[in-house]
Amino acid sequence: MASSTLASASAEAPPAARPGLLAKLRRRPAFAISSAIALVVCAMAAVPQAFAGWFGGGDPRKCDLVNSGLPPAPGHPFGFDIQGCDLYSNVVYGARSSVLIALLVTAGMIVVAVVLGSLAGYFRGWVDAVISRVMDVFFGFPALVGMIVLLQAASTHNEWTVSAVLILFGWPVLARVMRGSVLETATGEYVAAARGVGAGTARILLRHVLPNALGPVAVLTGLNVGGVIASESALTFLGVGLQTPAISWGVQLNTAQQYFVTSPHLLIFPSIFLTVTVLSFVLLGDSLRDAFDPRLRQEVARP
């Protein structure tokens, strides 16, 4: 009952309903825990040195082959990797590339999806036809295979190239949603009214259509961050993403796979960090979606 009145209120006056939503979010344990973890991971990415030194080590590049693959020891809670480096500080520094790529990919996908999606949804006709067919090509494509081929073709393998490939295969999903919601808003009464008083195309698009069409795309993007981190680590793990001098969970797991019988800790600790990070971003996206999508929220709240 209460949720349905809330939902109808938010449909009419979103700004007034937002504070209530955030208050509601704060009370959800899943949201509290996942956002706390996500914040810690982001902090680790921003200032890894603040976390890496906790147990005495601290420099991920200070290695001694004598320690190669040794299990956890005092001062080195996660043990040593194959190069004999402190695994704990390596895992901490590994957050950096994951978060950086997540940021780059999310930003890139939003830009591409918003531009192409609005063009297709607003102008329709041949613009829409061309963009939609291109999207079809990407939907008809085993994305992982495509990403592997492209990354193999790339001459450098850093955060930027990996992000570019993830964006290339990720944008169509978002663009399709953007196109749909622009189509819907562009046919709304107030857009017709704005056109009626002589507003130009650019003004209508920027002032009237975009702000109203962005919501679903933003929610979907939030839902996607965890997936981006997982995809990056998968590509790196396969050996086509980031490569060895780089410190990343994917690289660590890639190396660890050859030693997983003799030194399972090499596999376990980066896996735990990766899993917890991805899981918290997925949960965070989930609770944001529940809070901001009235239709879904009602479904959850029904007794």
């Binding site: 090509v137 939907f139 008809g140 085993p142 492209l150 997983f260």
Partner: protein, 309 residues
């Protein structure tokens, strides 16, 4: 129905052309010289041999001409020769059974488990089973599946010794149970959740009240008037997922050491073996499109509103 099928088939053509071209383009852009890669890093080929090879693989033609002659070959069933001297069709023939068995096993796991869990969660909404399914699917979505693969290998394979750790020596089904299960997890959460939502939608539908008012047994109401209707949207997701599962076989075949199509792509790329990558990639795209086409048609059969327009 026939017209609908034809329309869908025509729609798939430009997608097929676009995707194969994309793969071709990417392979063409691979750095390094395929001839040199073929010869090995420290061997010089005589200019005449190199020239012969270049002509044989059309390497000096412009990209579009190469693509054109490739398409022409494709239409007559000729996928070309790999640089290692084996016909690509032979490479595919040798490796597709592995991928096929893996894909089908995973798809079966995903379908059966996903539909079952989603149905139970939907019918018992708000109860423990529902919460477990919702929580479980969230966790599965969050855990990168190569991590799951290793945990499965260590626990089921090494520690418990129930299933082979890797390879295809044990044959189907034993060798494929673990990789199939891991691969199934890739699509399972979506299938379970969509089934759940769909069951909930249909439980609240008016026609379910009609069925109850007719005095049907509760089981008949659920099976004929809730589940049958709920599964229609799920069928389309199951089809799309089969495509994603195919994509995922590349990863799984690597981890579990299964010599399938993904494995071939994987070993062909570092060797700059364009014909193999393009051939196998095209085949995967083709299967992907074909599956989606079949799903669309099946959708039409299940939902008379689409079939009869």
């Amino acid at each position: 129905m026939g017209k609908y099928a034809l329309h869908r088939l025509l729609m798939a053509l430009p997608v097929l052309l676009g995707t194969t071209f994309l793969i071709y383009l990417a392979v063409y852009a691979l750095p390094g010289d395929p001839i040199q890669a073929l010869a090995g890093p420290n061997r010089a080929l005589s200019p005449s041999v190199e020239q012969a090879l270049r002509e044989r693989f059309h390497l000096d033609d412009p990209l579009l001409v190469q693509y054109g002659s490739y398409l022409k070959g494709l239409l007559s069933g000729d996928l070309g020769m790999s640089f290692a001297g084996r016909p690509v069709s032979e490479v595919i023939a040798a490796s597709w059974p592995v991928t096929f068995q893996l894909g089908v096993t995973a798809w079966l796991f995903m379908t059966v488990l996903g539909v079952l869990l989603g149905t139970v969660a939907g019918l018992r909404r708000g109860r423990l089973a529902d919460a477990l399914v919702l929580g479980g699917t969230t966790v599965v979505m969050g855990v990168p599946f190569f991590v799951v693969a290793y945990v499965a290998q260590i626990v089921l394979g090494v520690n418990l010794g129930w299933l082979p750790v890797s390879g295809t020596d044990a044959g189907w089904p034993l060798a494929y149970v673990m990789p199939g299960l891991v691969l199934a997890l890739y699509g399972l959460p979506q299938v379970a959740r969509l089934t759940r939502t769909s069951v909930l939608d249909n439980l609240n539908a008016d026609h379910v009240d009609t069925a109850t008012a007719k005095g049907l047994r509760p089981r008949a109401v659920v099976v004929r008037h809730v589940l049958r209707n709920s599964l229609i949207p799920v069928v389309s997701l199951l089809g799309v997922s089969l495509g994603y599962l195919l994509s995922g076989t590349v990863l799984i075949e690597g981890i579990f050491n299964l010599p399938g199509l993904g494995y071939q792509i994987f070993t062909a790329i570092p060797q700059h073996d364009g014909p193999v990558v393009v051939g196998v990639g095209t085949l995967l795209v083709l299967v992907f499109l074909l599956v989606n086409l079949l799903v669309d048609l099946l959708y039409g059969i299940l939902d008379p509103r689409i079939r009869l327009g």
